[in-house]
Subunit: 464 residues, 2 copies
Amino acid sequence: MTQLDAVLATAARDFDNSLERLFRLVRIPSISTDPAHAGDCDRTAAAIVADLAALGFKAEARKTKGRPMVVAHYTPRNATAGMPHFLFYGHYDVQPADPLELWQTPPFEPVVKTEKGVARIYGRGTSDDKGQFMTFIEAARAWITATGSLPIKATFLIEGEEESGSPSLVPFLKANRKELSCDAAFVCDTGMWDARTPAITTRLRGLVHEEVTITGPRIDLHSGAYGGPAMNPIRVLSKVIAALHDRNGKVTIPGFYDGVADLPKAVRTQWRSLDFSEAKFLKDVGLGLPAGEKGKSVLEQIWARPTAEVNGIWGGYTGTGTKTVLPSKAHAKFTFRLVGRQDPDKVLKAFQRFVKGLIPKDCKVAFSGRGGGSPATEIPEDNPFIARSARALKDEFRRDAVLMGSGGSIPICRFFKDILGMDSILVGFALADDAIHSPNEKYNVESFRRGIRSWARIMGEFGA
Amino acid sequence: MTQLDAVLATAARDFDNSLERLFRLVRIPSISTDPAHAGDCDRTAAAIVADLAALGFKAEARKTKGRPMVVAHYTPRNATAGMPHFLFYGHYDVQPADPLELWQTPPFEPVVKTEKGVARIYGRGTSDDKGQFMTFIEAARAWITATGSLPIKATFLIEGEEESGSPSLVPFLKANRKELSCDAAFVCDTGMWDARTPAITTRLRGLVHEEVTITGPRIDLHSGAYGGPAMNPIRVLSKVIAALHDRNGKVTIPGFYDGVADLPKAVRTQWRSLDFSEAKFLKDVGLGLPAGEKGKSVLEQIWARPTAEVNGIWGGYTGTGTKTVLPSKAHAKFTFRLVGRQDPDKVLKAFQRFVKGLIPKDCKVAFSGRGGGSPATEIPEDNPFIARSARALKDEFRRDAVLMGSGGSIPICRFFKDILGMDSILVGFALADDAIHSPNEKYNVESFRRGIRSWARIMGEFGA
């Protein structure tokens, strides 16, 4: 019997207790967005610290301007200088539970229900993210129980403000750079491809936004008295938006694609082989034609291609009935999803140049976005941490881990890279139907069980 | 001394009384939009009826569902079957006076003030329209006083709901079609070209409107999760708006210009000869480049060319900050100003076809305008009533009357044409700085004086 076999057997024997420990955390309504629950957040952090300390971690609930940050370090008995050291990140705060009346069981009274043969743990935070980060802790417990130690150096960082936008995280990382810098970060806050197929999320799009105001006449005009000779700023803005994409769905801003690389062939092949129906994906939201770049699959359009999107537009009279106004101003909000090495600042500047080039000389344009933005996070699919984690996941699930993208952004990955200099390996066991942020949030018992086993395997994979 | 000389001399002698009679009307706050002033409207109508009856008119305040309609007929002693018969239209109701604190003298206490050598009558309704329709009545009084009769058959129609959209006018015209049908209608509710130059407004643009809603995804989407493959309806709507005009400012809707005739050369020549600065007109509203059809003057663009205008646009997130939404719907309100024989219904249908042709197959478009609309009103510049009225105005002002257009619409002209079968001759003496609908409305004493003289001349022109 290998060490790992013993660890997995221990986890299996202890699984009912693992569930009960998760339940204990779920019972505390640690809603970070609601000041009334600040005490609940503190209690949750304290409970995690106590649990980790009992396992031999050097664990503390560290003060921030907001909710405490759980930091726990584990140094194996036989630790060597060359032994890998990983940060494990999760968050103990949860979304508010309202609307309460839509919950079939009380959100903070976790319960396992078996429906159509699938056992599910219901409760706020079961999937996002208490159930997920507890897979780390239970895997660590199994290793320590079975072998007396972890096979790697580990630092657990469990924050309490993720659902509030993590306001304390960046200052905390900066203030504790040395303490928290590891070889890589494992983040357990994402999903599987499907209930049978594990996934590692290796691509997160970046984001930069801008707001554009175009002024034509200096005041609103009567469309009878001025219609014809007076330029309408809605026309100008529409020309800008219409010019943003060519007929093949490609963004036309000069220089926009600088830093965008073609997808590696192996990744494209894997994505094309996935059980994914483009037609169903679009039909579910009432559409039928992929609107992104022609020749790219829908998954590639979301996971590996940048976008230029209008999130809002307004100008002139928008009430009921008619008003024959020729408006002074028209406005639109834009966001750009970024991939590869696209530079948010360069994209913004290129966009501004592009807009200015389309404005008649007697109209004005103002840009009121606050700048900032974040580049994409991409970890090369051949990164050794990715490859070895994928191997461990395949051992557990008997299926290749999908190297997924995500159309959205997970800012912590940028922070870990920029402040702590380490890549993030995103491995999670949530499923699309987990209803995170919604009533009746759940986490499958199998997600929890195989999550624990997966981390036990990943720890073993990198162990001595 | 001719008859006309005697009439003009009488008007001159009686002018102070004319002013006082105007003042009496201005003192009654006949605000038709405010039910609290219904009694004031009734009193105003009664005062006009009494005045016209004293002059020998068969005058009545006729009931409507709203404010009474003053109808007064005058048949000259020597009337013949072939004697011309004109309807004279004005309105005795006025706009509300608020904001009261911006008035320098109380709105319903008329006063003459001389500023920079120009005598002005201040008060709500002095220009719009009590001062204007009183020019009819005072001209008629001068004729009757000097000669014992009017030289033409006359029907005066002074309504009390013009500022409320004339809800009773159409039913009243329909119910009294025979009684009110004349050879032509004279309408005194427009302006001069400038303080020295009389004008007849011969072209009023028509108007039709439409509201467009484009639906892409059936629900708002997360722009990270769907951005790329999901079509954004704001993009679709912008393409529609951007496609509405070509680079020369011409509307591109197929069939849009059906029924639009070129401007007669004589009119174009007159308009080009006017003291009108295109640069100043645009600069006053903060613009510098005529946005209408290239090769057409600004006046031609407003007075004689149709438009396709967006009056409002909205969709997605329009609050402060950012929200990374890919919206389900985008909306815009459109109006089309019409000229010549453009058919509002055909223009709407052509626009709808045009829009449908630009919508991707998986998006939807809905049109929620209520239809309706009105065609343009154009009286050929060589119409004999126009030509002879222009001659009378030239006699008074020693300058050619400008045959103007108006970018806006005056619905009564359509009603007179459609219901009573007669053209409207729009002759008025208001000036651009009269501040109608605003605080400190005024009517120049010269507008009033020469307005009376002009109508005296026009009546004489058509008299036996």
